[in-house]
C-alpha cells in the first residue's frame, strides 16, 4: 500500500489501465456488472474501451446489505438490471473502491439470485486498507493507504469525466 499522493490520480487514465488488465482475459466472454454508482460508470467505460457488444449489468445492493438493522433502507435505491442470463457466465463485478468487502459480498449474493455463474471476478480502480471479509480484487489499478475517517469518492463531473475526491467524515 502506498500513501496517498499529494494530487489524486486521473480516474479516466486508471479506467484505461483497468481495461488493459482485463483485455488478455476476454476469451472467456465475460459479462460486466457495475455496482452503483461509481462501479456502474467504470463498467460503462470498460465496455467502450474493450469494445464489448453486450449491455452491462447494473446492481444496487441496498436489498442485500448487512447493515439494514442499523441504518435502514437507503433512501435512493436504484433498480438492479441484469440484461443477460447469468447461468454459466463468467462475470466481472466492477466497483470504484474496495474497502471492507461488504458491498462485494452483498453483490455476489444478489447475483446468485439470478442464477449460478461460471465464475465471478472483481475489478476495482482502488484497493484501500480495512478489509473485514476475505475478499480480494482480481484486477486493480491502485493500492492506496488512507487515514481512518477519510473516504475516496468517485464523482462524475459536469463534463462527464470521472474524477476522484477525498472526503473527511
Amino acid at each position: 500500500m502506498s500513501p496517498l499522493p499529494s494530487s489524486l490520480p486521473d480516474a479516466e487514465a486508471q479506467c484505461r489501465q483497468l481495461a488493459d488488465l482485463i483485455r488478455p482475459h476476454l476469451h472467456k466472454n465475460p459479462a460486466l456488472v457495475g455496482i452503483y454508482s461509481g462501479g456502474a460508470w467504470i463498467a460503462e467505460r470498460l465496455k467502450e474501451l474493450l469494445d464489448l457488444p453486450e449491455d452491462i449489468g447494473l446492481i444496487d445492493v441496498s436489498f442485500y446489505r448487512d447493515d439494514f438493522a442499523e441504518k435502514g433502507l437507503h433512501p435512493q435505491v436504484k433498480p438492479t438490471v441484469i440484461p443477460f442470463d447469468v447461468e454459466d457466465r463468467h462475470l466481472i463485478l466492477v466497483d470504484d473502491v474496495l474497502y471492507t468487502g461488504r458491498t462485494t459480498r452483498a453483490a455476489i449474493n444478489e447475483l446468485f439470485d439470478y442464477g449460478r455463474p461460471a465464475s465471478i471476478e472483481l475489478a476495482v480502480l482502488a484497493d484501500r486498507d480495512g478489509r473485514e471479509l476475505p475478499v480480494a480484487p482480481t484486477y486493480c489499478v491502485w493500492d492506496v493507504a488512507l487515514n481512518e475517517g477519510d473516504s475516496l469518492v468517485l464523482a462524475k463531473q459536469d463534463d462527464g469525466q470521472l474524477a476522484w475526491r477525498l472526503e473527511n467524515a
Binding site: Y64, A69, V77, E110, D113
Partner: protein
C-alpha cells in the same frame, strides 16, 4: 403538530395515512417500489431484507386481496408471515385490541399489518407501542373504517406515475361512492401532495362528502361533464349495502348515470387510463367492455401493489 407516523428524524416508522406525509416520503416510497418491481420479475423473487422478522397480518375485517398481497410482499422480503383470523381468535372471547397487541409483541412481532372496521384503530396501536417504549415495532394501515387505505392510495399513485410520468399536468377524476371510500380519501391526499393540479369528484349528491371543495376537489354530479378531457379515471366500487341504505334507487339506475361505459370513456382524453381498486361490480359501476378494454390498467394495479407494499414494509422496518 406531532405526526405519529414519523420518528424524530422525520423518517417513516409507521404508515397510518397518506394525510400529513410530505412529498419526499411519498416519492421515496414510489422510487423504492420501482426497484422492487424488478425483484418480482426475477426467477428468485425474494430479497433478504426482512429475514428473521415476523410480520403479523391482523385482519379484523375481511379482505382476501389486500391480505394476500401483503402476505406475498412480506414473503418476498423474506419475513415470516403470520395471518391472524381475528373472528376465530380471542377478540371474539372478549380480549381488547391492545391486549391482543401486547400478546403478539410478547411473541416478538416486528410489524403489524392492520385492517379494522373502526377508523383510527392503527393509530391506537401505534400510540400504544410508543407508550410501552417499543419503537422497534411498526404498524402499516391496511384500511381503517372510512378513514384511510394508504397502501391502495400509494399503489394508485405508482400506477399513475408509471403511465403518465408527471403528476403536475394531470386531470384526475374519482368516480362513485366517495362518501364511504377510504381509498378515495387516501387518493385525494396523495394526488394533492404530489402536485396534481385538478382533482375531480364525480357522484350522486348522496354519495359525496360535504366540504370536498375545501380539499381543493372539483365536484361534479354529471358524468358527461366531469369526465371531459381527464387523463386518469379512478372508479370506486359501489358497495351493495348502500343500495339497501336508501342512498340509491337501484343498481340499474346507478349504472345508467355513473357506470363507466365506452361512450362515457370517449369523453375523456384519448389516452386516459381507467383504474379500479377491486373487486369490480361489472354492470354496476363499470361496463365489461371498459374493464377488459385497452385503457384499463386494473390488473397492473394489482402487480404494482405488491411492489409498493414491499417498499412500505422495508422502509418502516428500517426506521
Amino acid at each position: 403538530m406531532h405526526n405519529p407516523q414519523l420518528n424524530k428524524d422525520g423518517e417513516l416508522t409507521h404508515l397510518l395515512s397518506v394525510e400529513g406525509l410530505p412529498q419526499r416520503i411519498l416519492t421515496q416510497i414510489l422510487d423504492t417500489a420501482e426497484s422492487f418491481m424488478e425483484v418480482s420479475a426475477r426467477d428468485v423473487k425474494k430479497v433478504p431484507l426482512l429475514r428473521g422478522k415476523s410480520v403479523f397480518n391482523l385482519f379484523f375485517e375481511n379482505s382476501t386481496r389486500t391480505r394476500t398481497t401483503f402476505e406475498i410482499a412480506a414473503k418476498r422480503l423474506s419475513a415470516d408471515v403470520i395471518n391472524l383470523d381475528i373472528n376465530k381468535s380471542s377478540a371474539s372471547k372478549g380480549e381488547t385490541l391492545l391486549d391482543t397487541i401486547d400478546n403478539l409483541v410478547a411473541m416478538h412481532a416486528n410489524l403489524f399489518v392492520v385492517r379494522h372496521a373502526s377508523s383510527g384503530a392503527p393509530y391506537l396501536i401505534a400510540e400504544h407501542l410508543q407508550r410501552i417504549g417499543r419503537d422497534d415495532v411498526h404498524v402499516v394501515n391496511a384500511g381503517d373504517g372510512r378513514h384511510a387505505h394508504p397502501t391502495q392510495g400509494l399503489l394508485d399513485m405508482y400506477t399513475i406515475r408509471h403511465y403518465k410520468k408527471d403528476f403536475t399536468q394531470l386531470r384526475v377524476a374519482i368516480v362513485g361512492d366517495i362518501l364511504h371510500s377510504r381509498v378515495a380519501r387516501s387518493d385525494i391526499h396523495a394526488l394533492t401532495t404530489l402536485g396534481v393540479p385538478e382533482v375531480r369528484a364525480i357522484g350522486p349528491e348522496t354519495l359525496l362528502p360535504k366540504h370536498l371543495d375545501k380539499l381543493g376537489v372539483h365536484v361534479f354530479h354529471d358524468m358527461n361533464e366531469g369526465l371531459k378531457d381527464v387523463d386518469v379515471i379512478i372508479m370506486l366500487r359501489l358497495q351493495n349495502e348502500r343500495m339497501t341504505g336508501a342512498l340509491l334507487p337501484s343498481a340499474g339506475e346507478y349504472f345508467r348515470h355513473y357506470g363507466l361505459t365506452p361512450q362515457k370513456l370517449a369523453l375523456a382524453s384519448p389516452d386516459a387510463i381507467v383504474m379500479h381498486p377491486g373487486p369490480m361490480n361489472r354492470g354496476v359501476e363499470i361496463h365489461s367492455a371498459v374493464a377488459d378494454g385497452s385503457q384499463a390498467v386494473i390488473l397492473p394495479q394489482v402487480t404494482f401493489g405488491i411492489a409498493v407494499r414491499m417498499a412500505v414494509m422495508s422502509i418502516v422496518a428500517g426506521n
